[in-house]
């Protein structure tokens, strides 16, 4: 117990005297979620600049364009006469899509034939395409229905209605009603910020200890550093409370600032996040052994965020990920963290519904605690051997 307290006190000074470590533990976790969410704070793509080519120039075609323009997704910045002209606008990035109504548009409708409109879309950003496609087909369906009704002059009003749409269709978007980008990506980013900042911070502590230690070892020659689990627990007692505070900011305050979806119960969330933070701390202590000097955590850990985001099943659906990557993803606390956090926070699941993730996090915490102890045990042995050699 005395050992743990000594190690705790020493670690406390290390953390709070090292601006580099504090940058990761405090500044990064404070600022990064804010910047990242701010980037996506508009949530959806609106007012995409586009051009219209109306070759029909009839009341019907103008009506189509008018309704299309009325959508919040579209902002018509140019009316062109031909495709080549509109393409020049596209080359100069003034527009991202072209809507073309052919000359026979109204003629076809009057004849009772199918009319076509063409949508040309720059595929640099898929979200633009999605929004424009939806808008265009909505307008086409809406006008189409009215045309159907007009073409049934003999029927009664209700009959017309029914023939035009015998079945009503309703769509419900759950948990993220406007399909917002921030609401989708930020929960995963928040979890990753916690894990990665711990990796970087603890890695820096380890690297600095090695830089300063004349034998490049992780622990000092001291009578207090004799039991591996005492070292791990002493360190944990410093990191964990810091991350309780930072976790509150990251998981509770940040979503609030940007009014992201937050429908989970606070108690469930806290119960779930406890093993997550614990697993992250032990994970960071374990991985800090590969950081051989102070600068290395940057080189080793920064790039991993992106692959981790992808195998967590948020950016890319799990169904499309090969089994071996799924297995590989299970060794990272972030995978379960993202899964469980999204389910509780965004989908209102209870702890019982995320039991597999919850238990897995406890499993990882135990695993990494054991691994960290093992690695420190080796360091202790190394120290002891070098002591013997000295005497």
């Amino acid at each position: 117990m005395k050992d743990i307290f000594y190690i705790f006190r020493r670690e406390f000074y290390i953390v709070f005297r090292d601006r580099g470590v504090l940058t990761f533990f405090i500044l990064l976790t404070l600022a990064y979620p804010l910047i990242y969410t701010y980037i996506y704070s508009n949530e959806v793509v609106r007012e995409i600049p586009v051009a219209v080519i109306d070759q029909a120039q009839t009341p019907l075609s103008r009506e189509f364009v008018r309704r299309w323009k009325a959508s919040p997704n579209v902002k018509v910045v140019a009316h062109c006469h031909e495709l080549e002209e509109a393409k020049k606008w596209m080359y100069r990035k003034k527009i991202y899509a072209i809507l073309e109504l052919p000359a026979d548009f109204s003629q076809n409708i009057r004849r009772g034939e199918q009319a076509h409109v063409a949508l040309f879309c720059d595929m640099g950003a898929l979200l633009n395409y999605k929004a424009l496609l939806q808008t265009t087909s909505d307008v086409a369906m809406e006008m189409g229905k009215e045309i159907q009704v007009e073409h049934l002059p003999y029927a009664s009003r209700i009959q017309q209605e029914i023939t035009a749409s015998p079945v009503n269709i309703k769509e419900v978007k759950l948990y993220n009603p406007q399909s917002g980008f921030a609401s989708f990506i930020i929960p995963a980013v928040l979890i990753l910020v916690i894990q990665q900042s711990l990796l970087l911070g603890v890695g820096t502590i380890a690297g600095t200890a090695r830089d300063r230690n004349f034998q490049h070892g992780m622990i000092p020659h001291s009578k207090y550093y004799k039991k591996a689990w005492n070292i791990v627990l002493g360190k944990t007692c410093v990191y964990l409370p810091i991350y309780f505070v930072m976790g509150f900011w990251v998981f509770w305050v940040v979503p609030r600032i940007f009014s992201l979806t937050q429908i989970g119960s606070k108690v469930n969330l806290m119960l779930f996040l406890f093993p997550f933070l614990l697993a992250c701390v032990f994970f960071a202590i374990t991985l800090s052994f590969i950081s051989k000097e102070r600068e290395q955590p940057f080189l080793l850990f920064v790039f991993t965020s992106v692959p981790l985001m992808f195998i967590s099943g948020i950016s890319w659906p799990k169904e499309g990920i090969a089994d071996y990557w799924i297995v590989f993803s299970k060794i990272f606390p972030s995978t379960y963290g993202i899964d469980g956090f999204v389910k509780i926070n965004n989908m209102g699941a209870t702890l019982r519904e995320v039991l597999p993730e919850y238990l897995s996090l406890w499993g990882l915490a135990i695993l990494y605690f054991a691994l960290a102890c093992l690695l420190f045990y080796r360091e202790i042995l190394k120290n002891r051997r070098s002591m013997l050699r000295c005497h």
Binding site: C121, I169, K173, L174, K292, F303, S305, P317, M347
Partner: protein
């Protein structure tokens, strides 16, 4: 000694240094190669198929079963749960087992035949944006088809038919032309930026790290001496070996994208090759600039890390930059990867005349020239072997 032979001597010195530490091999070869292979393997399918959905069938008639079957037949969706209990489907959704629910109400068939306009509802889990948009498309299509099938029956019964039937069912159709990506492949737009982003990040880190190591190991004075106290010669000799290695790494991802995967390369090889080379130079330029500007290594590294990670967001390949707040729109110009993305869209994807892309090319070049601003400062720091952690 002539300048060229001086640089050559320094290059040999740098090659030896790069070979002497494992961390360089990790940054220049191992980690980028891992990134390339990871994304090559992960995004291989292009579009995810067989996404699980549930059908809540409260009707359970031949009509509703037929609807379920055709929903299952769409390649992108797979009905993994058929139930009459909506609660069960909702719970499965909450557990993340399904991305969508297609709800067929009780007495659906009966109400259709009575002309009572029953309501088909479909729910999507928008927490998972990509799969939900795919199952949304499938379910919307299926609902529209159901509508069409019923209409068709009614119209046929009224004696209308023949070639104009399709026009009756949908008087206006939209012909979509997703330019140069007709497969609407997600792999194309993800991999085309993710892979260069790795090269960018590691080229930047390697440049910053290798310079700070000279100060940390107190070899900077010796390095400057052997370059006859010319900071330009010193930097050229040090960074050219890295430039060459990263260009080879860059060629590796270019060949994965355009030779192995045959992604659209409408500009031909050279515009993208130049874009890649300039990206490497921009990365190194930014790395040296940060090291020269900040006296403390860790702040320089933090700046590099921030730039590397934020690049993924502000380059705008997932969420378009014009839709971001005005401040971020301006800010995005400070990221080399943003300009590389613009070049990729213009050149590889759309293959428009190179003259339209002069701005991003120039921007990348300017990033490469950034070190010129900090040369005196960097030289001073090197002369004093000033390493501040």
């Amino acid at each position: 000694m002539g300048t060229l032979s001086l640089i050559w001597t320094l290059m040999k010195r740098e090659f030896r240094r790069l070979a002497s530490r494992r961390i360089y091999g990790f940054m220049m070869i191992l980690a980028p190669a891992f990134g390339f292979l990871f994304f090559t393997d992960l995004l291989k399918p292009g579009l995810p198929m067989k996404l699980p959905i549930a059908v809540v069938d409260e009707d359970y008639t031949s009509l509703s079963r037929q609807l379920t079957r055709s929903l299952d037949a769409i390649a992108q969706t797979e009905v993994v749960l058929r139930t009459a209990d909506f609660q069960a489907a909702r719970k499965a959704m909450q557990r993340g087992e399904i991305y969508g629910i297609f709800h067929i109400p009780a007495d659906f068939r009966q109400e259709v035949s009575l002309g009572k306009q029953p309501e088909l509802t479909f729910y999507t889990n928008e927490t998972y944006l990509l799969p939900s948009s795919l199952v949304y498309k499938s379910m919307r299509l299926q609902a529209a088809l159901a509508n069409g099938a019923v209409q068709q029956t009614i119209l046929l019964a009224k004696g209308e038919g023949g070639p104009q039937l399709t026009a009756k069912l949908s008087p206006i159709t939209v012909d979509t032309n997703p330019l140069n990506n007709p497969w609407i492949s997600y792999a194309i737009y993800l991999a085309s930026i993710l892979m260069p982003a790795f090269v960018f990040m590691f080229a930047m880190f390697t440049a910053a790290y290798s310079i700070s190591q000279e100060m940390k190991e107190k070899t900077a004075t010796e390095w400057l001496q052997s370059s006859e106290h010319s900071i330009i010669v010193a930097l050229l000799g040090k960074l050219l070996p890295q430039t060459l290695i990263f260009m080879v790494t860059g060629l590796f991802y270019l060949s994965i994208l355009y030779a192995y995967w045959h992604f659209p390369l409408n500009s031909g090889f050279f515009p993208m090759f130049f874009a890649m080379c300039l990206l490497v130079l921009a990365a190194q330029g930014f790395g040296i600039f940060a090291t020269g500007l900040m006296r403390k290594t860790r702040i320089a590294f933090s700046a590099c890390a921030l730039w590397g990670v934020l690049s993924f967001a502000v380059s705008g390949f997932t969420f378009p930059v014009p839709a971001m707040p005005p401040l971020i729109r301006l800010f995005s110009n400070l990221f080399p990867l943003r300009h590389y993305y613009l070049l990729y869209v213009d050149q590889a994807l759309n293959g428009i005349p190179v003259i339209y892309s002069w701005k991003p090319y120039l921007a990348l070049l300017l990033f490469g020239l950034l070190p010129l601003l900090v040369l005196p400062r960097l030289k001073r720091n090197l002369q004093e072997n000033r390493y501040l952690s």
